[in-house]
């Protein structure tokens, strides 16, 4: 679990940060993605604006925890980016997250850098 969790009785920490870099949009996610925080993730992606022709790179290096609610929200957001004409790739996917992606058969949907 990431260093962002400072005490046992706290809620999930989560942050979404998007930076434009030429034709790329770098999305840095941090914290835990579960049913509680996933609406914030969905909101973050919805707020990216026009992604047509853009390459959205999602950095998951600082994500300490993901469960199926988090996976579903992430997958739905990335599909929406694609439907709007953007390309998607994932970066710094942790071992545990790769495991969940592969167990659930979702890994084949994304290119992982």
């Amino acid at each position: 679990m990431g260093a962002s969790v400072s005490g046992p009785a706290q809620g999930s920490s989560f942050s979404f940060e998007a930076t434009a870099d030429g034709a790329r949009t770098l999305v840095a996610l941090e914290g835990e993605i579960d049913a509680y925080t996933s609406p914030r993730l969905t909101q973050g992606f919805a707020g990216l604006g026009d992604v047509a022709g853009r390459h959205v790179v999602v950095d998951l290096g600082e994500v300490g925890f993901v469960d199926s609610a988090g996976l579903s929200a992430l997958v739905a957001s990335l599909q929406a980016v694609r439907e709007d004409g953007g390309a998607v790739s994932l970066r710094s996917v942790s071992r545990q997250l790769t495991k969940l992606f592969e167990i659930t058969g979702l890994s084949r949907m994304f290119s992982i850098e």
């Binding site: 706290q10 049913a35 592969e102 167990i103 058969g105 890994s107």
Partner: protein, 537 residues
Amino acid sequence: MRGRRPRLDVADRGHWSAAALDAAADGMLAIDERGRISCANAAAGRLLERRVDELVGADAHEALPVLGDDGELHPRWRSPVLAGLQPEAAPCTAQQLILRPGGPALGVELFTAPVRDGRRAVGALISFRPATSPGGHDYGDEVLRITERERAQREFLQQLQEAVRPREPVVDHVDLGVHYLPADPNAPSGGDLYDWQLLPDGDLHIVVVDVIGSGVSATKDALAVVHAVRVLALEGCPIDQLVARTDTLLGGGHPGLVATLLIARYTPSTGRMMVAGGGHPPMLVVSADGEVREVVAPGIAVGWPGAGSFEVAEIVLDRCELALFYTDGLVEARRDILAGLSDLKAAVAETATYPARHLPRVLVERALEGANRRDDTLALVLRRRAAPAGPPGRLLDRFDHRFSPQLAAVPVARHLFDEWLRQQGVEDVDREDLLVVVSELCTNAVRSAGGKRSSLHLRARPDADALVIEVDDDGAGFDVALPSVDEVPPVEQTSGRGLFIVQSLVDQFDVSHAETGTTIRCTKRHLFATSAAWAPR
């Protein structure tokens, strides 16, 4: 293994279909459930200006990029080419514009029809012809007939495959998993086959066979080998003689049969495994932290002069170590066999902690990713499960907390549980899995709860070397059928993945309903050191 005996019998159903498809003037493609082209006829290659062998294995959406009315390419999720894979798809015909690399766009009449197994789309058939071509008879009907025939064939083949697959033995201290992918998605099974049997003395007998040839005749040969080995093993034939005796037994009756094989005899209580082979690639042993070693069991394949094992390899699997058996389809898909073996080692090192029932599928998916040809591919995994060594740890109080049934309680419960697991000394790999399990169970409970305060009740306790986790809620339970843990939820499915993950990560999963609510109980075994559970070597 590639066929050495040419089979050119046109009356054979497979050859007839292939010949008929190649004779057609329309481009015809079969795609699998992921949209990958599994079969393409000659006309498809001509119309798309691609080689047919290039098309096979390619993604249909990429091979047939369709331009929308706005002049932009359709995104994958709206691609008319993949329309047949949609959940409620019906056969349909439409005029479309296909972009060809380096050539002018091609206006086509595109027909797609789903191939279903029950209600699930397992693939689709696509036919297309230039929109300007003089209208012949309606090929749509022809494709519909083929679709229907495919469905019937698939059903028959599935039954055949079920009959060929040995039932998985349930043995304590052993997790097993297997995945098989035939070279030809339309063939029932090929020349790769496995066997796993519990012998009367409690040992496990495991065999992986790779027969030269393809299709039903190869399956027949592979079955003959597997059965011969099983009967000989049950009769007490020493493992070092199994390959030679099998060869003798099958000698006269099966002219032309050549089979490489690996045979293992495994003692679950001690982790001891003896391995004998006949011309088969090495077995791999992988530790939980990803260290991989080859176990070579040299010998000559059944059906070749001098068939037999040269020596028997003997190893002891440590706690959480796994043995990986496979056929050469797993290491030859993309590259030569040595490079393939090193790729496989890297893949299995990364995935060493995956649940045994999913690991073989993941390895096959990784090996075939980007591959443009595909042989029969089989992967079989055995993992030793045992409690950690050493004296029993300090057992703490039970975990017992109540929460309000709100999503905000899920991370709170998870973090408390994390602390508790750390205090119990649970290893990181197991702890990470268990946190996902608890997160899923609590989310599930919140969603189905009636809403009374403190009605979400999470409990956990060690039971010998196992951990038992229970979650209560005051809801009436969920009416969705529990997902099958062996079948990956379809990508487009939005719910039900949580319980699939839970069942994948624990050893036992029960749901019980009472008037007061619903309880889910999960058990994960072999987590804690207990003096009784550890049998020293």
